[in-house]
Amino acid sequence: MIEVHDVWYSYDEVVALRGVSLKIQPGEVVAIMGENGAGKTTLIKHFNGLLKPDKGYVKVFGVDTRNASVAELSRRVGLVFQNPDHQLFAETVEDEVAFALKNFGFPKEVIERRVKWALKLLDLWELRDQSPFALSGGERKRVAIASILSYDPDVIVFDEPTVGQDYAQKERLAQLIKLLRSQLKTIIVVTHDVEFVAENFPRVVLMSEGRVIADGNTRRILTSPELLKKARLTPPQITQVAWELSDFSVPRDLMWVSEARDAILRVLGVRGR
């Protein structure tokens, strides 16, 4: 449903994308990772037509983004920015969340129902009459998410949703992604957070210097010393444990606590319950 073919893009003199190709199917949950300046945010801005390729093409639901407006594309691809302040502008939380629905011309009852649903989902119902700017950073981020989810796009793209969030908020975000996944939404997340990805994402697209350097199974990518080094990422902590224990023939591609536990029980000759 999203097809990126040999896309090049430059900001003035700086080449941000150098021939990126990628396919994302309906219902997929994908993490885009890589160091700062790798081209991640530039890439996702192509998904709703905010940026158009200098060379190559991007097709969203079969439509070339060069032949569609941002408004049309946004109806199906919702983008949640890293900094919520780039997105928020209405006087109340409720107006903010209703804005896109009104713009897309939904009937009043539908708007009311969807706004209520999104506000409750993101734990914002009590704050609905407040100004978005009176809220904390974490709350504003949730308003930005609610204002996208309310109009029910097929694809939801999050740019760095875990930055500046505490652990409990990250857990809530992981729950939200699971919920959206169960509704067969396509979810694309740009993030640096290896632990968050190891726990929640089956597929990783790894970028470096404007190119995709790896695309596939999360375990294969996040436990590869060469790939991690190229993308300047640290391995998940459990993977580091596995590497510490490789002389006890513990597999080097562990990512989860339960896997490390079972491997160590084996090393120590303890039988599981």
Partner: protein, 285 residues
Amino acid sequence: MPIIELRRVTYTYPGSNKPAIRNVDLVIEPGEYVVITGPSGCGKTTLCRCLNGLIPHFYGGELEGEVYVSGMSVKSTPTSKLAQIVGMVFQDPESQLFLLTVEREVAFGPENLGLPRGEVRARVEEALNLVGIAHLRDRSPHELSGGEQQKVAIAACLSMKPKILVLDEPTANLDPESALHVLSLLSDLKNRLGVTIVLVEHRLEAVAPSADRVIVMDKGEVILDGAPREVLSKQVVEAIGIGVPKVVKLYNELRKYGVDFKFIPLSPSEVRKAILEVMRSDRSS
């Protein structure tokens, strides 16, 4: 004598009807590296602001109890004097840097103290070298990466020769590699300068191995305070929504199967050490 002491401190921001921190008692000794953690809105930032006098001198509000920094009562000491003892680094370095070059930025504090030129120059050199940014001295702080900017902010504090560095989530907006650089710089500074460090941080897996103490706050109160190993193994830590390092989770899991490490590991290499010890004691028994 403690370098920081809080006695029954309760603080309420102006216009608020609920205290942001409540009944906080805290004693920090010189040279300690203390990590403060807790869910958003738990009062960590407010606590930091009490240490350099931003509370009450800048924010106003109602401060009950006593805050002593290096023996001085914060309530009755002007912030200009506290600034020579407590260096403060914030989450967003951009908001803190405002001069044209890195060197000017780092010289700003000591120049304002009215120190002789030679002394200012010596302090700037020392601070730039300690932080490892001497090569950036002529650059504009605004064209640096986030990690480099945080290092400039830290150097700008160090040139004041503070006894205490307070850092409020300095890595929150950094990519993982830059965050690790900044954090390893902190433990290096503690070892080399003996400066007291108070760090607010969520990423406990990165800081727990080098910290002397972890303080957990929740709803404005200090609920746990102790060595990282003790604090992180407490069940309540996970219950209030704090990210326990995966190696500590692994330790807890293994205990359910009767594997009892002699100590709670804080890093992957400590897991290895703990396993080797279990093997050794198995063999000798």
